[in-house]
Symmetry: C2
Subunit: 204 residues, 2 copies
Amino acid sequence: MSRRSFYRAPEGERRQDLIEATLDCISELGLKGATVRQIAVRAGVTAGLVRHYFESKDQMIAEAYRSVIASLTDKAKNVEGDPATRLKDFIAINLTEPVADSRSVSLWAAFISQVRVDPALAEIHREGYLAFRNALQDLLGDFLAAKGRPASTEVCRRHAIAINGLVDGLWIEGCLAGDLFREGELISIAMAAVEALLDLPVEE
Amino acid sequence: MSRRSFYRAPEGERRQDLIEATLDCISELGLKGATVRQIAVRAGVTAGLVRHYFESKDQMIAEAYRSVIASLTDKAKNVEGDPATRLKDFIAINLTEPVADSRSVSLWAAFISQVRVDPALAEIHREGYLAFRNALQDLLGDFLAAKGRPASTEVCRRHAIAINGLVDGLWIEGCLAGDLFREGELISIAMAAVEALLDLPVEE
DNA sequence: GAAGTTATTATACACTTGAATAATAGCAGC
DNA sequence: GCTGCTATTATTCAAGTGTATAATAACTTC
C-alpha cells in the first residue's frame, strides 16, 4: 500500500495549472461540472491540493475569471501601428481565433451568469469592460484625429460604446454559431459597419 | 403527525409555476443554486413533485430556457405600425425593461454557458437567434423600401447581422452595468448608429 | 547524507444532490 | 356521502459536494 509519487511544483506553475484546469472544466462541463475533484483530476493532482493554494473554491473561480477577462482583452489592447491599422486590427482580432472561439464565449457566459450572485465577479466584469471600452475610445480618438476629423471626448465615448457593442454582439454570435456565417464575413460586416458609423474609410 | 394541506393545480398552471420558480432560482442563485429542492420551495410545493411533471431536472431546465428565449423575442417581433415606427420600436423595446434587465441577461448567460455542454440548448439558441434576426431582416427590408431605397436580400441580411449584433451588445452592457449610462443614452446611441449604418433617418 | 520544511496525498466528515418509492389527501363523478 | 383516481407529500437512498485533518515524501540546506 503505497502513495502515488508526485512532483513538487513551483507555486506559480501549480496555481496556473489549477486555474487552467478550472477553465477547462467550466467550458466543457459547465460551472456545475467544475467540482474540486474534477478540477484536480485535470490538473493531475488530488483534490486536497486546491485548498493549499486557494482559500476556497469560490476564490479560485474568481481568479480564473480574472484570467479569462485578461486573455480576452490583452490581445486587442496591445495593437500597434498607425491609427487606421490599429483600429482594423482591433476589430479583426476580436472576431478571429483565439479570442473568438466557443470555449471563450462559454467561459465568458458562465461568469456573466454569476454576476448577480457574486458581487466580486460583478466588479471584475465592470473593470474589464471599462478598460476595454476606454482602450477603444482612445483608439477612435487617434483615428479620427489622424483622418483630420478630431472629435470631442464625448463623441468618442458614444462611438466607443456603439462599436464595442457591435463587436461584442458579433463576437458572441460568431462563437456560438460560426457556421451561420461565411469565412471572414463577420469581420467584413464589422469593418463596413465601423466605416458607416464613423463616416470614414478604415481600409485604404 | 399530519401532512401539510395542498391544492391540486391544473397541469398547465403547475408546470408554469415550476418553470417560473426555476428561472427565479437560476437568475438569483445561478444554475448551481437551482436545485430541485430550492425550486420546489419557490413554487410552494415539495421536491418530489418536480419529477411528476418533468422527466428529469435537466428537461425542466431546457423547457425553462425555451420560455426565456420566447419572452426575449416575442415583444420585439410583434411591433406594429409603419416601417419606421416598427424599426424604432424594435430597438427601443430591446433596450428597455422588461427585456433589458439584469434578470434577463443572467438567465440568457446561464443558458449560453451550457450550449457547449448540452446540444439541445444549442439548438434552441440557434432557432431563437435566427427567428429574431430574420424578423429584423424583414423589418429592414420594409423600412428601406418605404424610404425609396429597396435593397436586395443579401444587403438586408448583412444589415440585420450588424444591427442585431449592435443591439445585443448594447443590451448586455445595459443589463449588466446600467449605471454606466445616462437615462435613455443607450437607445439614443443605438438609434444614431442604425441611422448611420443605413444612411437614413429613422426618426422624423 | 542527515535534518528540516512543506507541498502533496490520503482519508474522513457533515452535508447536499437528483431520484425512487410508498403513503395520503384533494377533488370529480356518481 | 361514498368511490376512485392521481396529484402531492413524506421519506429514503446512493452518489457526490466542499472542506478539514493527519500522514508522508519530495526537495532544500547544510
